[in-house]
């Protein structure tokens, strides 16, 4: 409330008016002006300016009784306070509306992003899009996407924005991390100020600065823990409730998109592997056919030309033809086993006393003759180890294991071990080859599965280990594979000795 009198207004006339008119919402400011008795307000120049401009002016003629002055001022003050209240209320409504609009915008944005993620069929592009979408949604510069290959493995950073170089591909501990806790508790966690947040492991941000605040949502499906999305702020930040809700909703959308993409990739891999398998099977079947046909034609040519078949040519062709027929028979048997495996039908084992040591030495010799780069060493703890097993199928198992050892190692020693304990015969094949990536280890016995480091590089059907595992299972034995990428692979087969044993 401005209280003044006409003399003062006259002296600095324009000044007061200007100051007043400069105020925002100047017309709301109550002005009480005391003027001399009989003075017309219109004749006080500045007062006239104010009145003409529509200012909120109350004119009192002197002498003004104290009570009048007080009640006028109080009324002016009350009016002013009411104005403030109305303004505050109005602002509160506007704020709420803006908040609602923002929430609605975010929800719409979330929906758009969810749809967009759903269209994505390539994991690496999907990862990048997830990170970009989160940065966009939360208006943050730093985001990390972490995935779990297995429930108890560490998180692997698969995509990030604003993190220090080298953080992508690095690992975040499964348990000593905020992401791990979020996954375990199945809820989004937010830390407003990491400095007071305690003992969580966090990545370094671009430029090496520490994290100020972090929010992390677990990526979960009903049965699987897939990973977590972390959003970082370089300085402390008060995460609002709707930030947490939005991150949770987005993580749910990511879980769906990720599951879909993985299903699709899995199916594509199976299709590719089936194509590879067909190509390899047709190659393997047509080679012996070529040999049989070629041998017969050679005999026909010779006979047509000379009228007789020289002993040497006859012997050679008989040898190659019968060898090819044996190869084709073995291949067709294997294909039938594979077909049974695909249909889920059990194998019918043809059990007979079988010497595992002899079998190992025989196959080692065959494979040795085919490779100059490898040395195959058979280490048998007993001279003979006889059990009642299906010899041809065990041959196929060892054949597969030795083929793999040769195929997936550049050279060097391959060790075949044969030993036994009270209950089982133990057969092992160890190479120092390229090994199997940790992530693929859980799937080695699935048909058409091949390691990420050999897919598309080394010929292979991906059927061998699956068939081997089935044969060993039918013998009520076990097959275990231990491998380290870059170091080599050890496969251990245990066969029960229960029926008719004789080892010397």
């Amino acid at each position: 409330v401005l209280l003044t009198q006409e003399a003062f207004i006259s002296e600095s006339a324009e000044g007061v008016a200007e100051v007043l008119l400069d105020q925002p919402a100047w017309s709301d400011i109550p002005v009480v002006v005391l003027i001399g008795a009989g003075t017309s307000p219109q004749r006080v120049p500045c007062l006239r300016t104010l009145l003409d401009a529509g200012a909120n002016v109350t004119v009192l003629e002197r002498p003004v009784p104290t009570t009048t002055l007080v009640s006028t001022l109080q009324a002016a003050r009350r009016a002013r306070l009411r104005q403030y209240q109305v303004r505050d209320q109005f602002e509160a409504v506007a704020r709420a509306e803006a908040e609602e609009r923002r929430a609605l915008d975010r929800a719409r944005h979330l929906q758009e992003l969810t749809v967009q993620l759903g269209f994505n069929l390539d994991t690496s592009v999907l990862f990048a899009e997830i990170v970009d979408a989160v940065a966009d949604l939360f208006d943050v510069t730093v985001v990390g996407l972490y995935l779990l290959e297995r429930p108890e493995a560490d998180f692997e950073s698969v995509a990030a924005r604003g993190l220090a170089p080298g953080q992508i591909g690095s690992r975040l501990p499964r348990h000593a991390s905020l992401a791990g806790r979020a996954v375990d508790q199945r809820r989004t966690l937010a830390v407003d100020n990491v400095a007071s947040g305690g003992d969580v492991v966090l990545p370094r941000l671009l430029g090496g600065s520490p994290v100020g605040a972090v929010a992390v949502a677990p990526i979960l499906t009903e049965e699987h823990q897939l990973g977590a999305i972390e959003v970082y702020s370089p300085s402390p930040r008060d995460w609002a409730l709707d930030d947490v809700e939005l991150l949770t909703a987005f993580a749910a959308a990511v879980a769906v998109a990720l599951t879909n993409v993985r299903h699709l990739e899995r199916e594509q891999q199976e299709i590719e592997a089936r194509d590879d398998f067909l190509a390899a099977a047709s190659h393997d079947l047509k080679n012996p056919l070529t040999v049989i046909r070629g041998s017969i034609q050679m005999l026909e040519r010779t006979l047509a030309r000379t009228g007789e078949l020289p002993r040497e040519r006859l012997d050679m062709s008989i040898r190659t033809i019968s060898g090819s027929v044996a190869r084709m028979t073995a291949l067709i048997d294997e294909l039938l086993d594979v077909a049974r495996l695909r249909m889920g039908t059990a194998l019918v084992l043809e059990r007979a006393p079988t010497d595992l040591v002899g079998l190992a030495r025989r196959l080692a010799a065959i494979h040795q003759s085919a490779s100059e780069k490898h040395t195959i060493v058979v280490n048998a703890k007993v001279p003979r180890l006889v059990g009642v097993w299906d010899e041809r199928r065990l041959e196929r198992v060892l054949d597969n294991l030795l083929s793999n050892a040769i195929k997936y190692s550049p050279g060097g020693e391959i060790r075949v071990g044969v030993s036994c304990d009270a209950e089982s015969a133990v057969l092992s094949v160890q190479d120092r080859g390229i090994g199997i990536p940790e992530a693929d280890l859980a799937h080695v016995f699935e048909r058409f599965r091949r390691g990420a480091n050999v897919r598309g590089r080394i010929d292979g059907t991906g059927i061998g280990l699956a068939a081997a595992a089935q044969i060993i299972q039918e013998h009520t034995g076990s097959i275990d594979l231990d491998s380290r990428e870059g170091e080599g692979t050890l496969v251990t087969v245990r066969l029960p000795l229960s029926a008719a044993v004789e080892s010397e």
Partner: protein, 133 residues
């Protein structure tokens, strides 16, 4: 093998290099080509094929596309580096994508396993004709 051969027109020419990982297949291809009067060299893999080609330039290469560890296309490229871009290569395959494989390897032709000996010999003769142009 030149005994009893009716057709020795190629014997003074360059040899045929047969590259196949299967020893028995190499053997029957050798029989068919030698009986037709060709001089035959064999190799089980890419590196052996390269060293053979360095020792003696082949007139035609009969290349199995499904070689283990080395893709047939790479073997073809390696042989061309040694013998020149015009080296005639005949692709032998067991699966259905022969034409595509032959094109990728820059081959003048392809035959399917199991092949007829007359088809093989005719294809190799065609290769020598290609090489002379």
């Amino acid at each position: 093998m030149s005994n009893g051969s009716e057709d020795i027109e190629q014997s003074n020419h360059l040899p045929v290099l047969v590259v196949d990982d299967d020893a028995d297949v190499r053997q029957v291809v050798r029989w068919a080509l030698e009986d037709a009067g060709f001089d035959v060299l064999t190799a089980a893999d890419g590196p052996t094929a390269f060293s053979q080609a360095e020792l003696r330039r082949p007139g035609v290469v009969v290349l199995d596309h499904g070689l283990p560890s080395t893709d047939g296309t790479h073997v073809a490229a390696g042989l061309r580096q040694i013998c020149g871009d015009h080296l005639p290569i005949l692709i032998v395959t067991a699966d259905g994508r022969a034409a595509e494989k032959a094109r990728r390897a820059g081959a003048y032709g392809f035959i399917h396993k199991p092949f007829d000996d007359a088809v093989l010999v005719a294809a190799v003769r065609r290769g020598f004709a290609t090489g002379e142009i």
